[in-house]
């Protein structure tokens, strides 16, 4: 992508570096963290450990993928944790009727809830925070009502094809990892290269202007919330395939984890700016922190929280600091 346009004043080198650092700040942090961890713990850089981390990050990553779209439009989706759990339960229940049902049922239900979120936000102009908060309660309520108040866990047949979506390995790496990578590539293409992607940025960058420029603001918003619902549902389904059961107690606090990952990845919560790849890095960074805490071993559970809170703050401070110069004007 080169233009023949002559540049009046190109950015200086330090500006370019700080621009790069902002875009890839999370990646730099991740690389540093990984290097530090592998130097400190000889059980870190093992194939097993890396594969475990990859697979168990996959589900959060898929949720964060949908969240990235939402956040770039300047919104937020708090319902993803509940939808993740609901998706898993529905998939486990549906798996008795075959893989298609196991996948389509959670997608349909979670997508529908996402759609309702989107409609309330875009058409009725309610605040995303509160709409998706209500959806978070509502989806949890639905989950409880279909599991006999949470007391029933549906199981997935271990030998079914659906289970291999979670359990199978390709080239020694778990299927969820491949699926997630595929989804991220698709997501990045859509966001960067499709017209819809342009609308997503435009709506987040300046909603009024986008509307006046003829961007379908409402439709774009409805789409991103639906997408987020679908992602959460799919992540839940894959997770259920991995755990071979529809665990009912999953997903609480997951929305905050997903938001953290997206923000760490360099996407602005105010909207209009962000990258899909950043979110993936953000998820991995969170995972590495957790892994390092476990590598240290005997850290008291209370201190673990202090450490992860402080780390979150540090990463975001670093992000902001790197990005600051570019945002002066």
């Amino acid at each position: 992508m080169k233009t023949s346009g002559d540049e009046p004043t190109g950015p200086t080198r330090s500006e370019r570096i700080s621009a790069l650092a902002q875009q890839h700040g999370a990646l730099v942090t991740l690389v540093v963290a990984v290097i530090a961890a592998s130097l400190s713990f000889d059980t870190f850089m093992t194939a097993d450990n890396l594969e475990n981390m990859a697979v168990s990050s996959a589900f959060l990553a898929v949720v964060a993928l949908g969240m990235t779209f939402v956040i770039i439009t300047g919104g937020i989706d708090l319902s993803v944790g509940s939808l993740f759990a609901l998706g898993g339960v529905l998939a486990a229940w549906g798996s008795q009727y075959g893989t298609a049902v196991a996948l389509l049922l959670p997608l349909a239900v979670c997508g529908l809830i996402g759609l309702v979120n989107g409609l309330l936000i875009a058409r009725s102009r309610l605040a995303p925070f509160i709409v998706t908060l209500a959806a978070m309660l509502g989806a949890r309520g639905i989950l409880l009502s279909i599991t006999d108040e949470g007391s029933k866990t549906y199981l997935v047949d271990k030998d079914s094809f659906f289970a291999t979506l979670g359990q199978g390995k390709v080239l020694g790496i778990g299927a969820p990892v491949w699926i997630t990578l595929a989804l991220f590539v698709a997501g990045a293409v859509v966001l960067r290269r499709s017209r819809f992607g342009q609308y997503v940025y435009a709506v987040g960058g300046n909603e009024d202007a986008a509307a006046l420029m003829g961007a379908p603001v409402a439709r774009t918003k409805v789409t991103v919330y639906t997408l987020s619902g679908l992602c959460a549902g799919l992540a839940g389904a894959l997770n259920a395939a991995w755990l071979v059961s529809g665990v009912t107690i999953l997903g609480s606090g997951m929305e905050l984890e997903a938001i953290s990952a997206v923000v760490i990845g360099g996407t602005l919560l105010t909207g209009g700016f962000g990258f899909i790849s950043g979110s993936l890095v953000g998820v991995l960074l969170l995972k590495v922190i957790q892994n390092v805490i476990n590598q240290i071993g005997s850290l008291d559970s209370a201190y673990q929280q202090v450490v992860s809170g402080a780390f979150l703050a540090l990463v975001v401070i670093a992000q902001t600091w790197l990005g600051r110069r570019r945002r002066v004007l």
Binding site: G5, P8, T9, R195, Q198, G205, L212, M213
Partner: protein, 506 residues
């Protein structure tokens, strides 16, 4: 010439305001139709109703002889109505090219956007308007004028039957205005209907064929512009007798002031990477100093650096000899510097607060005791300034966001005048202001200078700059290239100063 777009007895009310009252309006193919009126007359509202931003209360919209009702700007756009709205309405974080092509990006294989083509075409579209920028840069890095040209490029690059421009020239420099006029004539010759809103009357006579005058939401006149002389036009707008209007000159500046000899404001060697290089400005009490230059020459940056809104890398700002902390608006304001910012929508008004709160905002600490607000003191000040500046609002409690552009500007002026500043930095103070109000603002500047205030005036209106200033400092690429004093302060001299050194994009 066939009618393309018309409305009959259109009414639109906002809470407390009837913005449009039974207005009839018709745009014809191959005609440039001027829409004029005072601030708050309803011009922008009319345009927004025509293009589906607002739904009318009553009134029929006819487009190509068919009754229509546009629910969204998108529908209007698809039908063939292309609009540049009053405030630059683009997405600042997106690149220039993406802004230009939003919603109609060239697509290649698999329906994916072909960026190579998009950038090439964006470059061409802008070059035709005399703009050369890197189209991959975020839009916000461009000056307001360039942004306006991007919006123009966007509007004319679609196949439209009607092109609407709401005050497109307010942030353009003369050369760009001429480019714009070229584009307008080209559109007209292609048989496109152009609706053109502006407060600059000379422009209307230059490009328009027909004129419609609105006053307080009502239609007061419509007809060929050639039949109406300037005086008549103004009297129609203001609703005053021709005789009354005749007595007023072109600008309201009285001429020279008698400034003090010791400068009150000294800004020395302000430097900010990429933006300013060793810019020094001195203003004496009672003096109006103009800042001249092309778009992007760093005038706004200079004003902002003095007012603490931007932090210069080096340099000194002093008031009456006392150096103040740079980069801190409160410090500047405490020292007596007030800045009327250029981008009033984003940096000036607080849209959700009332006229009253907006006026009192900066003066709050002075208008309160022990942290408690003194309501009656505020009422007094608000009342004074609403009267003095003739702010048109349904009352002091109307939200500023609901006021017309010109009245918003007056509210901001009131905010700063309420501070009794020593130095007033005015960045495009009369942009988007109707001629009545413009005259008032100019008169006010004059009065303020006569009362001993030091004024820095930034204006893209050459006439205003020359007439209003005692001295003009000319900037180019963030550097002072010339200072015009005394008899040198003429339009010719200013033009020459700018021209001899070339334009910044070359």
């Amino acid at each position: 010439m066939p009618d393309v777009l018309s409305v009959a007895s259109l009414t639109k009310t906002f809470p407390g305001v009837r913005a449009l009252d039974a207005v009839d309006f018709t745009a014809r193919s191959g005609e440039v139709h001027a829409l004029i009126g005072e601030n708050g007359a309803g011009k922008s509202t009319l345009i927004k109703v025509l293009t589906g931003v607002y739904a009318p209360d009553t009134g029929n919209l006819t487009f190509n002889n068919r009754q229509v009702a546009f629910a969204t700007p998108l529908e209007a756009q698809h039908a063939g109505i292309s609009t540049i709205y009053q405030e630059v309405n683009l997405v600042p974080l997106m690149s220039v090219a993406r802004n230009l092509f939003l919603g109609r990006e060239p697509r290649g294989r698999l329906g994916l956007i072909d960026f190579r083509r998009m950038h090439r075409e964006a470059n061409e579209a802008l070059r035709r308007l005399g703009i050369t920028v890197d189209v991959r840069r975020p839009l916000r890095e461009l000056g307001v004028g360039t942004q306006q040209m991007v919006a123009l490029a966007r509007a004319v690059s679609v196949d439209a039957q009607v092109v609407i421009m709401d005050e497109p020239t307010s942030s353009l420099e003369p050369r760009e205005v001429q480019t714009l006029f070229g584009v307008i004539r080209m559109l007209r010759d292609r048989g496109i209907a152009v609706i053109y809103v502006s407060h600059r009357l000379e422009e209307l006579y230059e490009v328009c064929d027909t004129v419609t005058v609105l006053r307080d939401g009502k239609l007061v006149h419509t007809g060929p512009i050639a039949k109406l002389d300037r005086l008549h036009l103004v009297s129609l707008m203001l609703g005053r007798e021709v005789g009354e209007v005749r007595e007023e000159g072109a600008t309201k500046f009285s001429g020279d002031h008698a400034p003090d000899t010791r400068p009150i404001l000294q800004a020395d060697n302000l430097t900010m990477r990429h933006h300013l290089h060793d810019v020094s400005v001195e203003i004496r009490p009672g003096e109006v100093v103009g800042l001249g230059g092309l778009l992007g020459s760093g005038r706004s940056e200079t004003a902002k650096a003095i007012a603490g809104a931007l932090a210069p890398d080096s340099g000194r700002v002093a008031i009456a000899g006392e150096t103040i902390r740079t980069g801190s608006p409160p410090a500047a304001i405490r020292a007596g510097i007030s800045l009327l910012p250029e981008d009033r929508k984003a940096e000036g008004i607080v849209p959700g607060l009332s006229v009253r709160e907006n006026i009192a905002l900066a003066a709050l600490p002075r208008l309160s005791r022990f942290g408690l607000v003194d309501e009656s003191a505020i009422d007094a000040i608000v009342d004074t300034f609403m009267k003095r500046l003739r702010i048109k609002a349904s009352g002091p409690h109307q939200k500023v966001g609901e006021l017309s552009g010109g009245n918003q500007q007056k509210v901001l002026l009131a905010r700063w005048l309420a501070m009794n500043p020593k130095v007033l930095l005015l960045d495009e103070p009369t942009r988007g202001i109707d001629i009545g109000a413009k005259a008032e603002v100019q008169k006010l500047i004059d009065e303020l200078a006569n009362d001993g205030l030091a004024v820095l005036l930034i204006s893209s209106d050459m006439e205003e700059l020359i007439e209003g200033s005692d001295r003009v400092i000319v900037l180019k690429d963030g550097t002072v290239i010339e200072e015009l004093t005394g008899p040198q302060v003429t339009e010719d001299a200013l033009m020459r100063a700018i021209a001899t050194t070339g334009s910044p994009s070359d």
